[in-house]
Structure formats: structure tokens, C-alpha cells
């Protein structure tokens, strides 16, 4: 089975707390239905970046949103090879 790569992107406070903004990540071969939530915990973003809003493994911090291929998506949607996954901290636009 070929290596399945996704691009993970972090923004604003999340990027600065994690210390990186973009990373290519290989999805584990033995987890064909890996989701954004799974990856959040695998990358240890929950420990280092979630702060007071930290959630338990199995869910994302409630203030975060997930985008897959530059559109909002469910954090539980299985990731595909080539996906661009972004974790978005609370928005303050306009």
C-alpha cells in the first residue's frame, strides 16, 4: 500500500503555540479511516496547543473548526491521500 500523505496547516494562535504552520504527514497504513480529530491527537496538538480549551482524545477542542481542502468539514470525516487539512482557531473577521 502506498504512503498516504496529507498536508496539515495551522493558523494564528494555534500555529504559534504549536511552533509550525504547515507539515506533510503520512497517514498510518493500519488506520484507513483516520480523521482530523485522530490526527490532532496523534500530532500531540492537543497537549501543546489547545490550552485551557483542551479536550479529551476522541474529540476536538470545541472552539476549533476543521477545513478539508479549503472548505469547512466535519472533524470526523475520514481523510484521503492528498487532502489539505487545516485546524482553525476562533475566527475574528470583518
Amino acid at each position: 500500500m502506498p504512503t498516504r500523505l496529507v498536508t496539515v496547516r495551522l493558523f494564528a494562535a494555534l500555529r504559534e503555540r504549536a511552533g509550525w504552520g504547515e507539515r506533510r504527514v503520512a497517514l498510518p497504513a493500519d488506520q484507513p479511516r483516520m480523521s482530523a480529530t485522530d490526527l490532532w491527537w496523534q500530532l500531540e496538538l492537543g497537549d501543546r496547543a489547545a490550552g485551557a480549551d483542551g479536550a479529551q482524545p476522541g474529540s476536538l477542542p470545541s472552539s476549533l473548526r476543521v477545513a478539508i481542502n479549503q472548505a469547512f468539514a466535519s472533524p470526523d470525516q475520514p481523510l484521503q491521500a492528498g487532502d489539505e487539512l487545516a485546524f482553525l482557531p476562533p475566527i475574528s473577521g470583518g
Binding site: A71, G93, G94
Partner: protein, 154 residues
């Protein structure tokens, strides 16, 4: 239905943006043009405040965005508001990067056949931008930068 979305890395003048948008109206005079039925226009302009959320003098406001997704998401939000209110046209221009107090952050302009849909559409599109378009604000007071989580109240 006509829609334009633009992000600006440098200061922009909302009235210049509106004048450019208005030239479309003047150039497209066919009675079927969306402009012909837009007798009502509502605009909103938001600028950088002079004080931070904590009440300190603000040196600058930094706006981060998600290149590609931000533009696409604004277009989705605007198309939904245009359809919901039967609007004729909408314009969204938004600053990104480091902006100084008094500089324009956001311009929303919508046209409709009546004043109610124009005003409601403009308000809804602004709220959609504030809550559902990927922008993140960081306030700079001197050397300290502080990310904002959420928006000012209505």
C-alpha cells in the same frame, strides 16, 4: 447577480472601491442588468479602532487569513446571502496584513430592488464574514501582540 470579492495587502480606500464598483453600473445599461433593478444600496465600512479590546492605545492590528480558502469562503457566504434575499449585487473588500488605526478593514456593499433586502443582506453578510470567514486578528500594543478570540459585540 453580480459578486466581487477582493483582499488587500495594502491600505485601501472604500470609496475608491465603491466608485470602481459603481462604474460597472454605468457601463452596463441594459434593462436586464442586475444594476437596473437595484434602486437600493446598503454599505458597511469597518475601520481599525484606536484602542485595543483592553482599552490600551493600539499601535496596529494584524489580520491573518487562509489564502485561497478565505476568498472561496467569502464567495460561498456572499452567494448564499445574495440568493436568500434576492439581491442584485454584492461587493466585499477586506484588508489583510498589518493595518493602522483608522484604516479600513472591511467594506460590504449590496444592491437590491428595495431597501429592506439591501439593508438585511448587508448586515447578514457582515455577520457571516465575522463568524464564518477565516480571518484572525492580533492586536499590537507596543511590542506585545495578542490574538483576539471572537468578535466585538453587535
Amino acid at each position: 447577480m453580480v459578486l466581487r470579492v477582493a483582499l488587500h495587502l495594502e491600505p485601501f480606500d472604500p470609496l475608491v472601491a465603491l466608485a470602481a464598483w459603481q462604474r460597472h453600473r454605468e457601463q452596463d445599461v441594459s434593462p436586464q442588468a442586475p444594476w437596473a433593478r437595484a434602486a437600493a444600496e446598503a454599505h458597511f465600512i469597518g475601520r481599525v479602532r484606536s484602542l485595543s479590546a483592553n482599552g490600551e492605545p493600539l499601535a496596529a492590528l494584524e489580520l491573518e487569513h487562509y489564502p485561497g480558502m478565505t476568498e472561496a469562503q467569502i464567495e460561498r457566504l456572499a452567494a448564499a446571502v445574495l440568493a436568500r434575499h434576492g439581491l442584485a449585487h454584492a461587493l466585499v473588500e477586506h484588508r489583510v496584513g498589518r493595518a493602522l488605526p483608522g484604516e479600513a478593514l472591511v467594506l460590504v456593499a449590496v444592491g437590491a430592488d428595495r431597501r429592506g433586502p439591501a439593508q438585511r443582506g448587508c448586515q447578514e453578510l457582515l455577520e457571516a464574514l465575522k463568524h464564518d470567514a477565516p480571518f484572525w486578528k492580533r492586536e499590537w500594543c507596543g511590542a506585545d501582540g495578542r490574538w483576539l478570540e471572537g468578535n466585538t459585540p453587535l
